[in-house]
């Protein structure tokens, strides 16, 4: 490339946002920033920008031009895409072929500004936040068969492949999942896809007794009836600064009673749904509860709303994500109940919590409870102008030390998303 060409290209270091459209261009950019020691912020379409610490880099590397499906092998159950490919594009082609991404990508757009915006596959992999089916099918990382990317020196590297059984070398697909773009600039991702289930229903169980709810979660987890999602949506606290949206959002013909409820989903063909429902009614003693059933037409949108954090649609407050050992569900719910707007997903393991604006003390109290109970917490969204003093992620010193070494082996000059996860990385 001549100097003139470079100046006018999307990858010239003169522009603030660099938008490479090929893997080779990504590599060239990184080689250049490596030699100049210029840190960059890596973005897709910016939907995950709110996560982690704010970055102060002068340059941004946008992967939005690196988009498109490279190879889709329906029979082999994989799809290979460029890292900047919008989730919607992938979901569309899978839908046409009666397949899906089993980890149910979360649409964070609602939480951020009240509008749907799923972002890119690269962003999903970078965060590793799976949707409601997690406890049944694994996380995003469990669905990555392989990837290509550029490390912090500009070398194009790959790991994994397109087959499910592969133990050739370290499993870097796992390591880069959830690394928030601090190890490699992803360029290509191969995802495992799954056949869609024929149908689904959702059973609503009305109760606000935490003990009973956590007992139901436990029974569902212990059941061999393959429940594929289970959530608890409690009544919102009365505090005026929490928007009361629950009854508006979860408005369905067959969700006919106000108040807290637990919902669980059964997927499969009609015959097996009926059979499982019959057995679950006995296993869960549902005759002791008031309950109702959402048919497939209500069940699908219901879980979209759960997955997409619509309860926190457009919130100005902080949003926290906590993962707990399932047996701590009752204790943590009691701790939160009536004080916070929250809900539980992953059959008692995942808590989404809204905390009022600029409240370090409350966040720290929640954090301490979580850490003491062997869980972990990530502050997903910070309210505007709020500078939470403590770390946004939970980690111990030994793991931080190991993480630093690994970071250095990929990105020795700390150029990718510096300080995004931990201030030291």
């Amino acid at each position: 490339m001549s100097t003139e060409e470079k100046k006018n290209s999307q990858i010239s270091l003169d522009s603030e946002i660099l938008s490479p459209s090929t893997e080779k261009e990504v590599s060239e950019i990184v080689r250049e920033i490596y030699s100049k020691k210029l840190p960059i912020e890596i973005t897709g379409t910016g939907t995950k920008k709110v996560f982690g610490y704010n970055l102060q880099t002068a340059k941004k590397l946008s992967l939005s031009q690196l988009s498109g499906i490279i190879d889709y092998q329906k029979e082999e159950l994989y799809i290979k895409v460029k890292a900047g490919t919008p989730i919607e594009d992938i979901e569309k082609i899978l839908e046409e072929n009666n397949q899906e991404l089993a980890f149910e990508p979360i649409d964070f757009g609602y939480m951020i500004n009240g509008q749907s915006n799923k972002g890119t596959i690269g962003g999903y992999v970078a965060c590793n936040f799976a949707g409601s089916r997690r406890f049944k099918v694994g996380s995003v990382r469990d669905h990555i068969l392989g990837f290509k990317g550029v490390n912090g020196k500009g070398d194009i590297i790959k790991s994994g492949g397109t087959v499910v059984k592969n133990v050739t070398g370290y499993d870097l697909s796992k390591l880069i999942s959830g690394s928030f773009g601090t190890l490699v600039v992803l360029t290509e991702i191969t995802l495992k896809v799954s056949p869609k289930k024929q149908s689904q229903i959702t059973v609503i169980v009305y109760s606000d007794e935490i003990k009973k709810i956590s007992n139901l979660f436990d029974k569902i987890l212990s059941s061999s009836n393959e429940v594929s999602a289970a959530t608890f949506i409690p009544e919102e606290p009365s505090h005026k600064n929490y928007e009361h949206t629950k009854n508006k959002i979860f408005k369905f013909n067959d969700l006919d009673q106000e108040g807290s409820f637990l919902a669980f989903r059964i997927e499969g063909d009609k015959r097996s749904i009926d059979e499982r429902l019959k057995e679950l009614k006995i296993e869960l003693d549902l005759s002791n509860f008031k309950s109702s059933i959402l048919d497939v037409h209500q069940s699908i949108p219901f879980w979209k709303k759960v997955n997409n954090l619509e309860l926190f649609s457009g919130t100005k407050n902080n949003v926290l994500r906590a993962v707990m050992p399932p047996a701590k569900c009752e204790a943590f719910s009691k701790f939160l109940n009536k004080n916070y707007k929250y809900y539980i997903d992953w059959c008692g393991s995942l808590f989404w919590i809204e905390v009022l604006d600029k409240d370090d003390e409350k966040i720290n109290k929640i954090k301490n409870f979580i850490v003491e109970n062997s869980g972990y917490l990530t502050i997903i969204k910070k309210s505007e102008n709020f500078d939470f003093q403590d770390t946004l992620f939970t980690i111990d010193n030994t793991r931080l030390m190991i993480s630093k070494k690994i970071k250095e082996s990929f990105d020795p000059k700390k150029l990718f998303n510096p300080g995004r996860m931990y201030r030291e990385l």
Binding site: T162, V163, V167, K174, G268, S374, S403
Partner: protein, 498 residues
Amino acid sequence: MTELALPQIDRTTVSKKSLIVSQLKKFTNEENVLSENEEIKPYETDGLAAYKQTPLAVVLPENTKEVSEILKFCNEENIKVIPRGAGTGLSGGALPLQDAILLGLGKFNKILEIDFDNKCVVTQPGVTNLGITHAVQHKGYYYAPDPSSQLACSIGGNVAENSGGVHSLKYGTTTNNILGVEMVMMDGTITRIGGKTLDQEGYDLLGLVCGSEGLLGVITEVTVKILRKPQSVRAALIGFPTVEDGGNCVSDIISSGIVPAGMEMMDKALIDATDKFSKAGYPKDAEVLMIVELDGTKSEVDGLLDKVSEIAKQNNSNSMKLSNNEKERLAFWSGRKAAFPACGAMAPDYYCMDGSIPRGKLSLILKEINQLSKKYNLAVANAFHAGDGNLHPLIMFDGSDKEQLRKTEEFGAEILKACVKHGGALTGEHGVGIEKRELMCEAFNNDDIQQQLNIKKSLDEKNLLNPGKVYPILRKCAEEGRVHVHRGEEKFPDLPRF
């Protein structure tokens, strides 16, 4: 590979043997340190028995603190360490070195906690895979990954190799079924990764360690997920007149949306071998035989089994049996499970390969393997975990004939290269170890390998933990013209070259 290159022997370490042995005795009970020839003989090989090597000494620590002290000492004194679980691995991952301490985890044999509330078991790494299931089955639970060696292989070894098994098609491999580990790094640092929660925050170190073949740390505790046993399990035993028909049936079942618990295939040579050996009553007119296992609720399993039979018929199946009870189901499996010993009865030795291919290429690779069998004049029988494209060709040979052993390894390497050529992987579940080390250049280029070596170096700076495994001796790759020297830089300077 018969004259396997191993890291250069550090003569200084060897000459200090008695000093090192007496030092090791300070960290653990004296009887846990073995140094006499007859004591250490059982440790000179693992499941890849073609290679034997006597370690400097064997140490069998009893707790994490001892492991930490031993590793710290070895790190400071530049002594290599080879970790070992049950020694059942098939790729030579636990092959000792003459100047290395062999660190056996056999005394870590207790289950620490059975936590039904959190649906997990916390165990020491020396507990066998099946031992975990035995500990929880009274309440209807089990641990899902089931490598064929599950009676003997340890859970720590499973983590090191990311072991799979017959049912990984539906339930995943080790990496999808563990929640946490305690691990000791080469410098003695003890760390806990994960716990009883789903996923973990920060870098997925659990995912990195799982399948790292003992190169990054020594696992001293594992927390595994346990699952409720399915209500109903049934299997179909289906024969096909041609390999193509069988291969197409596998693809059709998967693309129809059915996810069987397991889907196994055997070729004619193996059907004959196992039938002679185990009298499983397999059909004689089949070129390939398939076992499809389905689990779930009763009506679901019955319904899926109907669908599977339908798809098999469309693919010209010429025999079909459906299990109606547990006895019949186990009878279907008896032949498959006897496959390896059956081959052992047919020839003095057999060599078990392990590659992965896209499912759609099954019949193609089988043809290529048969051509190679003619080329090398060595008999081969094939077993596949067909549902996830994982193949285990068993090459039969006579190990006392060095020329046959050499030809066998060449044959095996050609199969694995063919797997990579067809879009598959060098190893599906046995690991790279020493066995496929030199083939890594088939799957990865220099930059890919360099990144992996950089990770290794960042966690084990002196390359003391299980050296000589997994990663190729780069000069050999360079000589074969597959890897260029990267921008004139010396590759991982601490890595021994030959």
